[in-house]
Symmetry: C2
Subunit: 162 residues, 2 copies
């Protein structure tokens, strides 16, 4: 069980886009440059964020990406599911209904207890991610980031934004 590297990139990109002035956009190449990651591969993940409706894309020169809604209305879970997909991590194959002692399917009205346990844990995981918004993360960055990085970041963003 491993979470894709793209999730980390996607969250960081959203936090940076949250710091963008309204009605401005930031191209994919600039986002990659800011984070020091491969531009082509980051573009792939940004497409996923766009498909999920978390960011808007503007084509052409002076185009780029911006958040589709307020940073306070985008949860970390939104980003994770946009990148990783929203299918459950645990898939029950109903092996209790296989093998020599299996009964007819209608004898198993409730879901398998193993699956219920795994899904309950997954729900707890999702709840924790849903409780945290991109806005919360931005606040944390402003709170904790090195002051020099903050000023440099703001200046960098001012020049890179379109």
């Amino acid at each position: 069980m491993r979470i894709s590297e793209g999730v980390e990139w996607g969250i960081h990109c959203c936090t940076l886009l949250a710091a963008l002035p309204p009605d401005r956009t930031l191209p994919s190449a600039r986002l990659a440059e800011y984070h020091g990651v491969p531009p082509a591969y980051l573009a792939k993940h940004l497409q996923a964020l766009s498909r999920a409706g978390l960011v808007e894309s503007v084509p052409g020169p002076r185009g780029g990406y911006r958040l589709a809604r307020s940073a306070a209305q985008i949860t970390v879970l939104d980003v994770v599911e946009a990148i990783e997909g929203n299918e459950p991590a645990f898939e029950c194959t109903e092996i209790r209904q296989r093998g020599p002692i299996a009964q007819a399917p209608e004898c198993y009205p409730r879901k398998c207890g193993v699956a219920r346990t795994m899904w309950a844990a997954e729900a707890a995981w999702q709840a924790a991610l849903r409780a945290q918004t991109i806005d919360d993360l931005v606040a944390g960055v402003i709170e904790e980031a090195p002051p020099a990085a903050l000023t440099a970041g703001v200046e960098w963003l001012r020049q890179a934004a379109r």
Copy 2:
């Protein structure tokens, strides 16, 4: 993010081994037959459970597997980590320290806020799995399983146990 199929098999195997009379063993091939899964592949996962110290293996004829400790002392998390490994699902690559505005490493005393959020969610997931023991699952099966399957299962186990 996808949980290996072996996790499901491992948990079901532990619940079946919990129903085994004390000091009896069940061979890998019988476990596979009971659950209707490929024997050779299940054997691989049982090795992982053995390495993790959750089950004991007895070699030779009349050999097989049995739980290494009480079913009440084996949590679902134990089984999941035995199969999937105990490394965190989210790995922080510290991309905040990359790119043009990165500062010296000593300027980042705390862990990245993104990583803290992801790890907190993972901790909630683990806590949910740690709260559930194999014994709890067995109780659930006895409670909910079709009566015919229960009696057939006990009889099957009586003949298959060594």
